[in-house]
């Protein structure tokens, strides 16, 4: 009897020690995260100040951008924020002022596709990228072109393109060839993607407006070598951060594997 009482007491004590230990770990974890939040908050304030100075034109190096290097820009927006069309129009107006000519707007759920007409109406002279491409007016420096893309233009489009390629595969007789040889090329895939309506160019830079640095399913075929920069939530967007991101992009040099 004494032995079983003792073992019960021991069991209760060890459970209490475990509880205290877990509580200590939990407190440490929260403490570390609180410190990180304070550090991030301080950094955010510094970034806001810097952005303000850039907007006022007080930081010399951001005054002249080699904007020609940025041939195609993509903006990824968190779908919940994609309803803020006035903010998006303002962002596009800033881009137009800076000299960016071709912009792709992406959100996962296609909210921006639904707001396409409203955005085009409220942005002077902007035209759809597809229309410009078909009419060969891409070189027309007066118009900003906009492309609207969503998640369905990514993996699902590749599946559709795969069916286009399967048609070619079935008709061509390559089924009899050596199974180890490559059947399709990257350019054939690109053509197939154009056939199914998802064949836009590869952006040089993606600006992600949302809580985290995550491309949210932007078509994989198009972002192989694209710089991906996180800008924070759309509601906190500012002109100075935009200029800084574009400036940093223009300073990047890619080796492409070499």
């Amino acid at each position: 009897m004494d032995f079983s009482n003792e073992s019960r007491v021991l069991h209760r004590c060890s459970a209490q020690v475990l509880d205290i230990g877990n509580l200590l770990l939990l407190s440490l974890w929260h403490l570390v995260h609180s410190i990180i939040r304070i550090c991030n908050f301080t950094l955010d304030i510094a970034n806001v100040l810097e952005s303000y100075l850039i907007s006022l034109g007080l930081l010399g190096r951001y005054k002249s951008l080699h904007i020609a290097k940025l041939r195609y820009l993509a903006i990824v927006i968190e779908s919940e924020e994609a309803y803020q069309t006035s903010k998006i129009i303002e962002l596009l107006q800033w881009l137009e002022a800076v000299g960016v000519k071709h912009v792709c707007l992406y959100d996962k759920e296609g909210i921006l596709k639904k707001s396409k007409d409203f955005i085009l109406e409220n942005l002077d002279g902007a035209i759809l990228f597809q229309d410009a491409h078909e009419n060969n007016v891409l070189l027309d420096q007066q118009h900003m072109t906009l492309e609207f893309v969503s998640f369905s233009d990514g993996k699902e489009a590749v599946a559709k393109a795969a069916n286009v390629l399967f048609m070619k595969y079935s008709k061509s007789g390559v089924t009899d060839q050596n199974q180890k040889e490559k059947i399709f090329t990257e350019s054939q895939m690109s053509e197939a993607l154009k056939t199914v309506g998802s064949g836009g160019p590869e952006p040089d830079l993606i600006l992600v407006y949302g809580p985290a640095r995550c491309h949210l399913g932007f078509p994989a075929w198009r972002i192989k070598y694209t710089e991906i920069v996180h800008m924070g939530p759309l509601k906190s967007m500012n002109y100075g951060s935009l200029i800084k991101a574009i400036y940093k992009f223009t300073m990047v040099r890619q080796n492409y594997g070499k």
């Binding site: 974890w29 993996k155 069916n163 399967f166 949302g210 995550c214 949210l216 994989a220 075929w221 492409y256």
Partner: protein
Amino acid sequence: MFREDIIIGIFSGWRSFLRKCLFRVLRVGPIPSHIAVIMDGNRRYAKKKKIDDMTGYDAGALALLHLIIYCMELGVKYVTAYAFSIDNFRRHPEEVQKIMDLTMESVMLLTWMSKLRLVRVHFAGNLQLLSADIQDAAKRLMESTAGYKNFVLTICICYTCSDEILHAVEESCKEKWDDGIGIMGYDEANDYERLIKVVDIEKHMYMAIAPDPDILIRTGGEYRLSNFLVWQSSCCHLSSLGTVWPEFGVFHLVWVVLDFQQNYRYVAKKKLQL
């Protein structure tokens, strides 16, 4: 290169004890199941330390070994490393050959390590571009570790995501053809949705062995994915670190995981929506 005793040293000692205590705190929060890394900056490290490039690559291989061990201790189940891209064949042939020699040494070391810690090793990429001896060694290692389930290490070699997608599409086409769904069973009037689906393509991906990564780390201060896991990283926390790869250590990993934990709810929500 380096010896097995170095690896045993990483697993034991007071540093390992302190690390485990640190990881115990981290494990209060969500731990990523799959971490992927672009190991950029080996040549810049070599330049900084005034050593030759191959010694830089050796240092990079050691850093990867450290990462594998740290991840095992932390409770991460999958680690994927971008070791050699198809684009890297554009480098000087001498440099490519030296990297291939290092790859062979690494395969030997992984063969030894996989038995020590029951690590499943997988090589993802167009392995036909490798020399016959490396291909054989890699295939033997994959076969001998196929039964291990506790930890999966994927080495992406002769890999690009565009090649992976193309390969998966080709395999899907062959599979459909072999299933007898030839041109007679396919109606051109259909709007391209009837035969090959996303799930067919994904099962033929080189990376089908692992779930999508939770974190993708790139060292060297660059902000692009360089054709690495672009298909699999839709809802992945992308982390860019300024440090060069050979200098990546436990505190960098801790920092990345803490950052992941700060954004976990958002990224997890996005993953569920997919």
